[in-house]
Structure formats: structure tokens, C-alpha cells
């Protein structure tokens, strides 16, 4: 009887309402918080949720160089709105390669880097993982913790995933020994998802020496590195230093995948500007890899959106524009670093119990504060401070005006009985 029932449900939907059984999906952990913040009417509210840069006036920031170049692109009479090639804008792709691997990387000249323009960092990850699913058998290792959308992207691409113990809650730093141990047990040929810099959500990055250890275990276990780079320029403030890991692994001869986003470092969030790179061993293989990347892209969006890439290309291929961008990026990053310093000072001045060194030790947009989910809930409900329940705080949302209130609120929830 049950089987018949099941069959009926499967092959003979008699209900007029085909979507009746659909349940409400949970709100996205990150965008959900942004919505809650928007709805909050308190005038002391602070948005430390989504990783989007804010000025000291709590305003979104459009890079001056972007404003200038956007005008140029929109007003250019020689530009039309035609389809880009499936793999995107050639100039943009070339520029991305140079920014990621270095102006003079021999891999560029030898044709060993396959690049395709993608829909921001998410798009690059999805394309990369769909390609992995189709062409290299392997499970994926992700850091514990990692950006929540990583898990969804990998799952939708049909891959299995497990975690390596990245964050050490005791030291609030990188668990190098634990990571190496875990990866040394990984099945050969597995894929390792690595954050290039400014780890999201922890803000904790491996040192150069630790990167070499990671490289070593990847070599021994023939693991395929899949780098996610969403914050080049936002970690140390130096664009070359921030991609040390990618360039080192490339130098060491790894074949790997890199997802590159310009959402934050060019502030091009809503135009979905990114790229995926696959490093191969020779240009013949590159040609085959590109042909298959194109097949994946064709079934998601056919070809990528033009305008964001055109703007980014103007930065990446023109020295004057590039330098202007780098300067502006330094200023923007500098403000975040300053806010880290200010927050730590305030916490120290208020003698908030606990060790808060990690606030200035961690890098990039985010800090893993170490606050518990309950403390975070209290912070939000009582003090209108919005952050993720994991304790992740976006430092870009802190300003010179709200930092004291923030420190006081943290003190209150930490001391709360």
C-alpha cells in the first residue's frame, strides 16, 4: 500500500497545487542578518554582518577610480552591448592573471594558466567545482570554519566535503599542526580549499613558513589546491604580499585552481566581477581545459556580464589607473586596520575580561571575536549590534563614532551572568 502511495506521489500528481509541499527555506546566514539590520529602527544599531566595506560615515564606498572609469565605459561610443565570449573579456582575463600570478610570471608566457571571467567569487568557485566534479575525481577539504556559501557551492556541484581543523579556538590562531595532520590523512588526489589571505570568517592566516608546510603535505598527498582569493589587497594592504601563497605554490610547480573576486577590492560587488584560473602543465592541456570550462559556463550564464569586467580591465591594464587603485585600496585597508587598533584600545581601556590580542593580529575584513552564539544574540537583541552567531564581526562596519559603544556592548555581554 505504501509503495503504491509512493508511486502515486511520484508519477501521478493529482494535486492542482504543485508547489504546495514546498517549505520556507531558512534565510541566508549572512544576507539574513543584513535584512534584520535594515529592519531595525534603533539609532545605535551597528552593522557588522555582511562583508562589505563602509566609510567612517557608515556609508558604502565607491572607489573614486571606479567612478571615473565607469563614466568612461558608459560613455564610450565605440563600446556596444554585445555578448562577451563565453570565457569573458580577454583584456580582463589577462589582467587578472598578472595581478594574481605576477606581471612576469613564466606561467603566463607558457600558456599554463587557463582563465575565464566569472560571476564574482561565487561564480568562480561554482565553475571551478563543477569542472572538478566532471574531470578530477576527489573529495573536497574545507577549512573549519569557512565561508558558509562554500559548503553550498560544493554541495550543489555534487562533491563530497570534509573539514580540516583550521581555527584554534584556544589560541584564536591558525591550527597548523592540526591542519597538516588532517591533510596528511587525506586520500590522494583530494582537493583542498584554501583561503589565500584574510581568511573568512576568522581573519587568521598562515605565516609564510606555514604555507610551505601546507605545500609540502599537498605535494606528498598529491592534493589539488583550490585557492579562494576574495581579499587581495585587503589583508596586509600590499597586493603582492597578500597572494604570497598562490605565487609560492605556482613557483613550486603545483597545478591548481584559483577563484578571484573583485567584489571587495574594487568595490564592484553588484556587477559580479571575478575570474577562475586553472594552472596546467602545458598549453595543450590548457586548450582542453578551457574548452571544458566553457561548457560549464555556457550552462550557467552562457557568457558573463560585460560592464564590471570592462571597468576592472581599465584598472588592470593601465599603469596610471592601476596605481591610483592601489593607493585608494591602501587608504581603505588602512581604515580597517585603524579600526582594529581602536577597538582593541577601547576594550583594553574598559578592562573587558579576556585576551583581545587577536583583534589586531587577525587580518582583512573579519574578526573571529570568540564570542559565543548566546553572547552574539544578546549583542544583537539588546545592543543592536549585528554580527554572525559564529562570532564573526565585519571590521569594515566599525567607525570612529561607534567603536566605543561597540566596546561597551561587548563588555556588557561578556560580563553578563
Amino acid at each position: 500500500m505504501q509503495k503504491l502511495q509512493l508511486l502515486q506521489n511520484q508519477f501521478n500528481p493529482t494535486s492542482d497545487d504543485i508547489f504546495f509541499h514546498i517549505v520556507q527555506a531558512p534565510p541566508d546566514p549572512i544576507f539574513g542578518i543584513a535584512n534584520a539590520y535594515k529592519a531595525d529602527t534603533s539609532n545605535t544599531k551597528i552593522d557588522l554582518g555582511v562583508g562589505a566595506y563602509r566609510t567612517d560615515e557608515e556609508k558604502p564606498y565607491v572607489f573614486e577610480i571606479i567612478k571615473k572609469l565607469e563614466k568612461e565605459v558608459v560613455n564610450d561610443p565605440t563600446l556596444n552591448k554585445e555578448y562577451l565570449p563565453i570565457e569573458g573579456l580577454a583584456d580582463f582575463n589577462k589582467g587578472c592573471q598578472k595581478l594574481m600570478f605576477g606581471q612576469n610570471s613564466p606561467l603566463i608566457a607558457s600558456g599554463q594558466i587557463v582563465t575565464a571571467q566569472c560571476l564574482g567569487g561565487t561564480g568562480a568557485l561554482r565553475v571551478g567545482f563543477e569542472f572538478v566534479k566532471r574531470h578530477i575525481p576527489g573529495d573536497v577539504y574545507v577549512s573549519k570554519p569557512t565561508w558558509s556559501n562554500h559548503n553550498q557551492v560544493i554541495e550543489r556541484a555534487g562533491l563530497n566535503q570534509s573539514e580540516y581543523p583550521y581555527f584554534d579556538p584556544k589560541t584564536k590562531g591558525f591550527n597548523c599542526a592540526g591542519t597538516i595532520e588532517c591533510l596528511s590523512q587525506a586520500r590522494m588526489g583530494s582537493i583542498v580549499l584554501l583561503h589565500v589571505c584574510a581568511h573568512n570568517p576568522t581573519g587568521v592566516d598562515p605565516t609564510e613558513a606555514e604555507w610551505l608546510q601546507i605545500a609540502d603535505v599537498c605535494k606528498k598527498r598529491r592534493l589539488v589546491p583550490f585557492f579562494d582569493c576574495a581579499y587581495q589587497g585587503f589583508a596586509s594592504g600590499c597586493i603582492e604580499k597578500d597572494v604570497f601563497a598562490v605565487r609560492k605554490f605556482a613557483e613550486l610547480g603545483f597545478q591548481m585552481i584559483v577563484a578571484q573576486s573583485f567584489s571587495k577590492n574594487m568595490g564592484l560587488y553588484n556587477e559580479r566581477v571575478g575570474a577562475v584560473h586553472i594552472v596546467t602543465s602545458n598549453k595543450d592541456i590548457s586548450a582542453r581545459v578551457l574548452s571544458n570550462l566553457k561548457i560549464v559556463i555556457r550552462t550557467i550564464c552562457s557568457n558573463p556580464p560585460a560592464i564590471g569586467a570592462r571597468i576592472a580591465a581599465k584598472i588592470l591594464t593601465d599603469e596610471k589607473n592601476f596605481n591610483a587603485w592601489v593607493e585608494e585600496l591602501k587608504t581603505v585597508t588602512g581604515r580597517i586596520i585603524k579600526m582594529r587598533t581602536l577597538l582593541k584600545q577601547e576594550l583594553d581601556n574598559l578592562k573587558v575580561p579576556g585576551n583581545w590580542d587577536h583583534i589586531t593580529r587577525q587580518t582583512g575584513f573579519f574578526t573571529f571575536t570568540g564570542l559565543t552564539p548566546e553572547q552574539c544574540d544578546l549583542l544583537t537583541k539588546q545592543y543592536h549590534v549585528y554580527l554572525l552567531r559564529s562570532g564573526r564581526m565585519s571590521m569594515a562596519g566599525i567607525t570612529s563614532k561607534n567603536v566605543r559603544y561597540l566596546a561597551e556592548s561587548i563588555k556588557a555581554v561578556v560580563q553578563n551572568k
Binding site: F19, I86, N270, S281, S302
Partner: protein, 414 residues
Amino acid sequence: MQCFRALRYFSVWSQVPMGPADPILGVAAQFKADPSTTKVNLSIGAYRDNDGKPVVLDSVKRAEQIIKEKKLDNEYLPVEGLQSFIDASIKLGYGDAYYAQNGKSIAGCQVLSGTGAVRLGFEFAKKFLPQGTKVYMPNPTWPNHHNIAKMAGLEILEYRYFDPKTRGVDFSGLVEDLNKAQNGSVILFHACAHNPTGCDLTTAQWTQLLDLTKKKNFLPFFDMAYQGFTSGDVNKDAEAVRLFTAQGVPIVLGQSFAKNMGLYGQRTGCLSFVCANQQEREKVVSQLKLLARPLWSSPPLHGARVADIILNTPELNQLWLQEVKMMANRIQLMRVSLANNLKNLGSPHDWSHISKQIGMFAFTGVGPDHVKELIAKYHIYLLSSGRISIAGLNEGNVKYVAEAFHDVTKNTKL
């Protein structure tokens, strides 16, 4: 260091085979590489004016001017996209009257043009329709429909559509195939300007399909990439969509603004589902977001802003409607011109199907061998299926194209 050097010789990607070139975009690439001065591109579905140039619509330019003056920021759109664009898009597709009454129960999501609509729609169907649900597609259809369905893990079956003998629709075959289809199947329909054949169904035929849909509880998935671009009238072109929804049939609608607003490279589209009520709509939207987040996080803004401003500014909307009508008219003119030219050259074949078919494309009836010759000898680029993009024709090249077609077909069968 030596052991690291060995990594270069071990190739992670060595098993990757060369993937087939995209049948459509591959030909366009060939055209681009051809140095001939008489070359004609009839491969890709992108509008060209009478000088063979791509067109940026005036309504688009003016919308962009408005955007510039507003000095807006670049913050992420929500996962579902720009709501005012979604609403305007739905209104355009379903019609003012239906929207006024039922707008609150239509779940919409901004997507990456028509491709994105199909991908997100198919992923949703795979996840939420009963296991074993089949998807039926017309034979032939846009090749990417098959690719996307495969990626989404859906089982595809075909229904007869094109009759090579009449070069029109094989309607009795179509009805026979759909009658045999499993109840509750998803049926992919091209709302207008069928790609690649240019053969559309009549109102009477759509009405018959509506009855069949109700009888067999089909879920129609309308792919509408040419609203306005087909007859020149946005309401007429959406006739099938409106016929079905007026009778309370829940449908899925994919809309592209690539052609009708010339927003090709901006990747502007909308996917919508007719739901039972507002609560259901919210649930469906929430699930669409869950699928969109790991695809692209949020869609690109620029094109949606442009479309939103055009559709919501009466003056610009009027201008746009005129422009899309003008594009449709020029295409119609070229159809007639090509057919007449071939007739005047004394071709032994009947080319009337070219002027009878509608929309961007014509299924000319030439075969792969003809196509090879057209490319090699005349530098005329079209698909090996014989599909040409009428938009690539103009007063400057239509005679040349007619002569070439005549030359390669005069001694052969079609």
C-alpha cells in the same frame, strides 16, 4: 626542490578531453577570424542594423544617463535581484490585467538572462518536482536547453515540432507525442519566435495545447527570449503565456532582455513561477534564493537597472516599444527580401517558408554540406542545421546571400 619540479610532469588534468566547440558561439568565433571583406555573419542571434552594426537602443542610452545622474552605489543586490525590475518584468510578461489581479502570487527572481532563467528553473524543477518527472523539449530546440537540463540532472524527452517536409510545425505529431507524455511532465515551450525554426504555433493550436495541459497536468515552462521582437507587439508575442495563465494554469516563465532591449552582454533576465497564493510565493522565492546563492550569489545590477528604468518610465517605455517594433519590422523586411531575391534568381526551390517563419531565425532547409560550401566559398557563416539569423541580413548583403544560396542549392535537393 627537485621533488617539486616533478610536479610539473605529473598532470592533474591529463585525463581532460577536448570539449566540443559550442555549435553557435563556435561559428561566431570562426567568422571573427575570417579576413574576407565579403564575409556575412548569419550565425549568432544578435540584432544588427541595416549597416550590419550592433545597436544600442536610444531608450537604453537614456536610461543609462538617468542612472549616471543618480550617482548610485555598487552594493550587492539581494540574492533574488532588483525587486522593481522583477515586478516590471513580470508585469510585461503576464500583462497588466493579470498582474494587477495575481501579481502577489507570482514568485520572481532576477537571473543571468535567458540562460540563467533556464538553469535556475531546471535546478528548481529537479529539486522540487516529484522524482522521475520528465522534461519535454521541442525537436529541434536551442541546443543549450539540452546542455542545461543535463547539468541540472533532468531527464529530457522530445516532442515533434518541426516538419522538414512543410518547413512548418508538425502539429499532429506534436499533439500525439504530448498525449503519450507522462502526466505531470514539464513541457518546455518557446513562447514566440521559436529558435531555431522560426515556426510558431497559431492561437488555435495554443488553445489545443492548453486543453492538453489541463488534461495531463503538465507544467508549462515558457522560454520567452523574443517578446516584442517577434511580431513587433509585446502583447501579441506573449499571447500563449497569457492564454494559459488566464485559464488558471500554473506556469514557469523565463524572460530574457538580451534581444528585445539589446542588453546582450549585460545578462538581464527574470524567472517566475505562478503560485497558488502569496504565502506559497514567499516559500518559492526563498527556495529560489537558496539555489541562486551557490550559482552567482546575486545577479549583476547594471542591465536590470536599465530595464527597470525603461519599463517604469512611461516616456522611455513608449520609446522602447517603438524601437523594438522597428527592429522586428526590419527583420520582417529582410525575410521577404531574401525570399524574393531567391525567387527572382530562378531558384528551383520554394523559399516561401523564409518569409512565413517569424523572429530572429530562419530554418532555411540547407544541409550541412551546403553550409560548408557557403562558409568556405562565400564566407557566409550560419549553423550546420541551416539556421540563419535574419538580423545579419541587410540591404547591402541580401542579394549576395541570395546568390550564394542559389548557387549552392540550384543543383541539389533541399
